[in-house]
Amino acid sequence: MEGLHSALLRADPRLSKFNPLSRIIFYDDFDVGLQGWSELIGNYEGTLDSMLPGYDDLRPPMLSNLSMWDTGSAGSMEGMYALKIATRPSAGALSVDTKRVTWRQRGPVRLEAYFAFKPEATEMSLSEVDVRSIGVVFDVQDEKYRYMPHLRYLNAFQGKRVAHWQFKRQRAPLMPIGSSGKTVSHFHLAPENWEDVPGGRQFLCYNEIATKHNWHYLRVDLNLSSRQITGLQCNDRVHDMAGVEPMMMPAMANLWCMLNVGFFIETDVDKRAFLYLDSVLLSGEWE
């Protein structure tokens, strides 16, 4: 049965580039639309002004054919369209898009994607340190905890190449939102308190001008039983996740079995940064 399962996946040109677990929760190829991805927004009550400031402008996703001013449309890795997440042109601006599902059994979950990132090609310069970071977020709840495994690839900071994977376990305190007593919030993507994944330095394929894109493979394994990220692979590098922890908090009233996934990009300069996802696959292991 396992051999047949594997053979069927390998025979499908869209899926053979992934290594999914036995159940595919969703497979999103953005050639057929935005597939349920949307902008992340913070909690609010009564007025949008009650939202924590970090959440107020995380930008909607778009379908991109990667059209460049000098060479026209590159298309995606497979087909024409990719999901594009774009920041505003302001240093430190962050954009986050998400898809929200729930889990059936506390076991392994695997997120895979093919991605590329670039700054907006507004200058005829290499611009390889203009994108600050790209990252992956999970937001999960079980019967005891809400937890948020976060990983980012810190490409550059304040103009200097960093090229290191990082995680985040320290979180800001929960703040009350509005006056009902039912809503709280904390900005889990704040720039503070990211920590290096031990041995997590990795160089990616930026290419030689700002209008050339190379697609990269990403795999993040999460175990819903241990509440830990258990695997991170980007292209040829498999990183050791020992000591990598999520942000933890007590379970909340309305989030049972939540399994949210998201991707983000942050710019290091006053120039838009773009994250492109050719396709995303979330799989799990259950009976």
Binding site: G33, L34, R59, L63, N65, W69, S73, K84, R88
Partner: protein, 111 residues
């Protein structure tokens, strides 16, 4: 059965427009028709008659007016239709000193 794709992007939310402004570039190459909606959260009466221009672009970097203009009517919600627009759309405005409005701007797209 395949149904027509559609998508609504909130291109500005709770954002104040004043002076010279433009929405962020939005890629629309897959769509055949679009409507920009502008909902004024503040400034509805004071801004009556002010124009907001639809713009198109070859590359998302350089922009020109498409010709369609949304003129604020005094109502809470106004819209402008646009079709045959290439790969990019945005709204742009140049308002006189003192004119300011807090908006939610929405781009509704269809194949």
């Amino acid at each position: 059965m395949m149904v027509r794709q559609s998508y609504t992007a909130v291109v500005e939310r709770n954002h104040v427009w004043q002076g010279s402004f433009a929405t962020e570039p939005y890629e629309v190459g897959w769509a055949g028709e679009a409507i920009f909606f502008v909902r004024l959260l503040e400034g509805r009466t004071e801004l009556r008659g002010l124009p907001i221009r639809v713009q198109v672009s070859p590359d998302g970097i350089h922009w020109c007016d498409e010709g369609a203009v949304l003129t604020l009517s005094g109502a809470e919600v106004n819209f402008v239709r646009v079709s045959h627009f290439g790969n990019w759309l945005r709204l742009a405005g140049t308002w006189p000193d003192g004119a300011a409005g807090k908006v939610i701007a929405t781009l509704a797209l269809k194949e």
